[in-house]
């Protein structure tokens, strides 16, 4: 896992196709330790995509493992016809859809019972930190109230920084559809978060 965090940091700033290519070719050549680097680079991104899609931390964590197992299995046949990130997001999206279709009994997220990690932190928060946390909580809840189709475009666009074309690739639809869903999602968010607008 040497250098994994720096790879991730670099990745968060700007996805590097060369790095992607070298990593994939190394994994395809049997150098399994590179998969750990790839895992690290995408871990947070895919986790957020999954979490915002299914809304449950524990399930998201489980799902993440099966997604990366599929990524590993599929990497052998990856031919760079799309970007690696688009391909991984597409696998994650399909897994989330399959998960939702299976219709497991709804779980009560643990955080509702015990509070989020941040809330459990014994150190006192400053007033600004507290206000910011509250604001994030409100935005998070507003996003989670959007229908899944609108939520996924918002997350891919504003959290993962994908372009319209990349999102269209992940969702297997046209860029026009992406723009239209995004507009609807943003209008809905604006309506829900209207009282917050002064503080934003």
């Amino acid at each position: 896992m040497v250098g994994a965090s720096s790879a991730y940091r670099k990745f968060r700033e700007k996805p590097d196709p060369d790095w992607e290519r070298r990593t994939v070719l190394a994994i395809q050549g049997g150098e399994l330790e590179w998969f750990a680097t790839l895992y690290d680079a995408y871990y947070h991104r895919v986790y957020n995509q999954v979490l915002y899609s299914i809304g449950d931390e524990l399930q998201a964590q489980d799902l993440l493992q099966s997604i990366f197992l599929k990524v590993f299995r599929g990497l052998r046949y990856f031919r760079f016809e799309s970007s690696l990130s688009t391909w991984i997001y597409r696998i994650a999206r399909n897994e989330c859809q399959d998960f939702s279709r299976r219709k497991r009994p709804p779980l009560v997220p643990l955080e509702l019972i015990r509070g989020r990690n941040e809330e459990m932190d014994s150190r006192a928060l400053s007033e600004d930190q507290h206000a910011a946390q509250e604001r994030f909580g409100i935005i998070h809840r507003a996003v989670m109230q959007l229908p899944v189709k609108l939520r996924e475009v918002v997350v891919l666009r504003y959290l993962e920084d994908l372009s319209y074309e990349e999102i269209a690739n992940v969702l297997a639809c046209s860029s026009g559809t992406v723009a239209s869903r995004l507009s609807r999602a943003l209008e809905a968010l604006a309506k829900r978060l209207c009282p917050l607008r002064e503080s934003l």
């Binding site: 666009r157 209008e187 607008r197």
Partner: protein
């Protein structure tokens, strides 16, 4: 007030993001000048975008190192399993059953089924006895379909004609089975005489049955004859009554 150009509504966000072409950009801008509803929508989208840009990134409960430690044994097992059976069935399926290949295979199967349905439709719909006669349908396929009354106009020897069987007659000495084929069940005319010669192993049709007869058409001008014949009959197909 609603917008009279709803198609432009979905261009408002790309307009804000600056990803429209210059003509599209100008067209949206010109529209906004005169459309209150779209200006309001644009305001809402801009507000929504500001909020969406602050969507919090949630940290996973585990670090990626810890999470990978849990996954690593499964990945290693998968890799070892893969090296053991690199050309097993599931492996080949995984490799070659891409959506494109599956689509192409499905298209080929559909085309083959369509051909099968087209060429064997008649067999499926009632020509049950055809195969029992030992004659392949493809062999008889080139025979020209013609009605009994039009046989006199025919210039092609190999024909297929439909009608009802009357007066089945067996001439043992000559080894010929003959019957009349009439166009209507209760009519005697127009008719054509059909003759099954000895070497042909055909099932003799029942009197009154509805059949299609395949064979060679000719005119019989012998004394007391003066009719058209299908002679020899090469195939008989039972039809629904």
């Amino acid at each position: 007030m609603s917008c009279w150009r709803p198609g432009l509504r979905k261009k408002l966000l790309p307009y804000l993001d600056g990803v429209l072409t210059p003509p599209e950009h100008s067209s949206v801008e010109a529209h906004l000048l005169g459309c209150v509803s779209c200006r309001e929508a644009l305001w809402r989208i801009r507000m929504g975008r500001r909020m969406a840009q602050q969507i919090p990134r949630v940290s996973p409960p585990e670090t990626s190192e810890a999470a990978f430690r849990a996954l690593a044994p499964r990945v290693t097992a998968k890799a070892e399993d893969r090296s053991r059976r690199s050309w097993s069935w599931p492996d080949c399926l995984e490799r070659f059953a891409t959506p494109r290949v599956v689509l192409i295979l499905a298209a080929v199967i559909i085309v083959q089924l369509a051909f099968f349905a087209l060429f064997s439709r008649k067999v499926l719909l009632g020509e049950r006895s055809l195969s029992s006669n030992g004659i392949s349908y493809s062999y008889l396929h080139g025979f020209r379909s013609i009605s009994i009354q039009d046989i006199r106009l025919d210039i092609q020897p190999h024909i297929a004609t439909e009608g009802y069987v009357k007066d089945v007659h067996l001439n043992r000495s000559e080894g010929v089975i003959a019957f009349r084929l009439v166009s209507q069940p209760n009519a005697m005319k127009p008719f054509v005489v059909c003759e099954i010669l000895r070497p042909m192993q055909l099932t003799v049709p029942e009197d009154g049955s509805h059949v299609r007869v395949y064979g060679v058409s000719r005119y019989d001008a012998q004394r007391n004859h003066d009719w058209y014949e299908v002679n020899p009959v090469l195939g008989i197909a039972q039809l629904p009554r």
